[in-house]
């Protein structure tokens, strides 16, 4: 056939076939191989949400559900997806790409897609081999919402983003998002009734949680007012080093923040609780299985080398956040 059509003719024939396949993929007339999704926590019907809020709103960029940030926007966890509302001009919901994904897409053709409750929207983009970029951003059907990708610092940081360019309170419900290598989307297709359905089943929640816990690990007491976070020993008279078991090695040394009441206890009786005044990372790097933190108490309240447990102090809402987000 190549000899009959000539090289250019054969190239055009291949393009015609690929275009036809792409259209048929949307309508599931053919079995389409789904490409790997390069985003984490991409299914918003049951998202990983270690911070535990039902709604996240911020003017400055702040993390919401795992791996996604809100900027000048509000993200509410709905029954079928994330409801996004822009609270100011350029409100956005963004996903910083991991180092491995950034390297994999450099110079490649990628397709961005989002499945909303009103339909599927996608765009294909050629990532430059170097230099910053801001992908052309097609409107996703509703009130100046767009999807795009952009980079800063010569592609040291790359983001997948859903953004609203106007300060319009026009909420959209996002069911799923996908970034994939290739020139067409494989996120979803239309069934015989014209309904959009995901090509892949929803991801295994446990696996998504593990992936997200490389970036953020939250100790919560799960309504156990005296839950133990870890054990250790007095490091001096006002501080104990506490070892925390972690499920997976974190991406980088995490920052540590905490809320609620925590205490050090040597005797496990409530009256033995020594109130914790501050929790900090022991910045000696993180291992595959454990992290160390400093738990501080009032001066001279800790006995050097005695064993202690760090536990919630009658506070079922107490939590510690290890943050190694990008």
């Amino acid at each position: 056939m190549k000899e009959y059509l000539g090289k250019e003719g054969f190239r055009q024939l291949v393009k015609l076939v690929r275009d036809a396949l792409a259209k048929k993929a949307d309508k599931a007339e053919l079995a389409v191989q789904s490409n790997p999704n390069l985003l984490d926590n991409w299914y918003f019907g049951n998202p990983v949400n270690q911070r535990g809020q039902t709604e996240y709103a911020s003017t400055a960029t702040a993390y919401s559900i795992d791996r996604w940030t809100v900027t000048r926007a509000k993200a509410s966890i709905g029954d079928s997806g994330i409801v996004l509302t822009s609270t100011s001009t350029n409100g956005s919901f963004s996903h910083p790409l991991s180092d491995g994904v950034r390297a994999a897409i450099k110079g490649q053709t990628v397709t961005l897609s989002v499945l909303l409750d009103i339909g599927l929207f996608s765009q294909t983009y050629q990532i430059p081999k170097s230099g910053n970029f801001d992908a052309p951003n097609p409107e996703i059907g509703v009130s100046k919402w767009y999807i795009d990708m952009f980079s800063v610092d010569n592609q040291d940081h790359v983001y997948f983003r859903i953004i609203n360019t106007l300060a319009e309170d026009a909420p959209i419900t996002v069911i799923a998002a996908k970034l994939e290598l290739g020139d067409h989307q494989t996120l979803a297709h239309q069934d015989a009734d014209g309904n959009w359905v995901l090509n892949d089943p929803p991801p295994d929640y446990g696996m998504e949680l593990l992936k997200c816990q490389r970036y953020q690990f939250v100790i919560e007491t799960s309504n156990n007012a005296y839950a133990i976070a870890g054990v250790g020993a007095g490091n001096n008279t006002e501080r104990a080093v506490i070892t925390i078991q972690i499920p997976v090695k974190m991406r980088a040394n995490p920052s540590v923040s905490y809320s609620g009441k925590w205490a050090l206890t040597a005797g496990f009786r409530v009256n033995d609780d020594i109130p914790v005044t501050r929790i900090e990372a022991v910045s000696v790097g993180n291992s595959n299985n454990v992290l160390d933190i400093f738990a501080y108490a009032e001066k001279d309240s800790i006995t050097y080398c005695d064993f202690y447990a760090l536990r919630a102090s009658n506070d079922p809402t107490a939590r510690i956040i290890f943050d190694a987000n990008l």
Binding site: T61, P96, D134, V152, A252, N253, P254, S257, A324
Partner: protein, 118 residues
Amino acid sequence: MDYDYYNKHYLKAREDGAIVDAWSDGPFAGRSTEGYIQFGQGGYQLRLVVDGVQTEENPPIFEEHGIPIYKYVDGEIKRRTAEEVQADIDRIPPPPPSPMEQLRADVDFISIMANIEL
């Protein structure tokens, strides 16, 4: 479109310049900056530039005794000298005796006073 990418980085230094705290307002949005100096801006996590070299994210700022590793001098972050660190280590008071050590000392004292061989 603006990106809201850059976060502000803060540090607190002692009178001798030793850095005793440092953080990024990425993970610590809304934290009070009273007593802190904004020494730079950058990514979500804290990095320091020490003697012109960028550190890992959230680098250690204390060694194993809890002594500061870096100092802030004339707007630059530098590594403290070994002598400066050792001087701080030498100033750490010895820990008080543990209850068991105190009890042993008391028993020994009483046995000596009572001329009892243990």
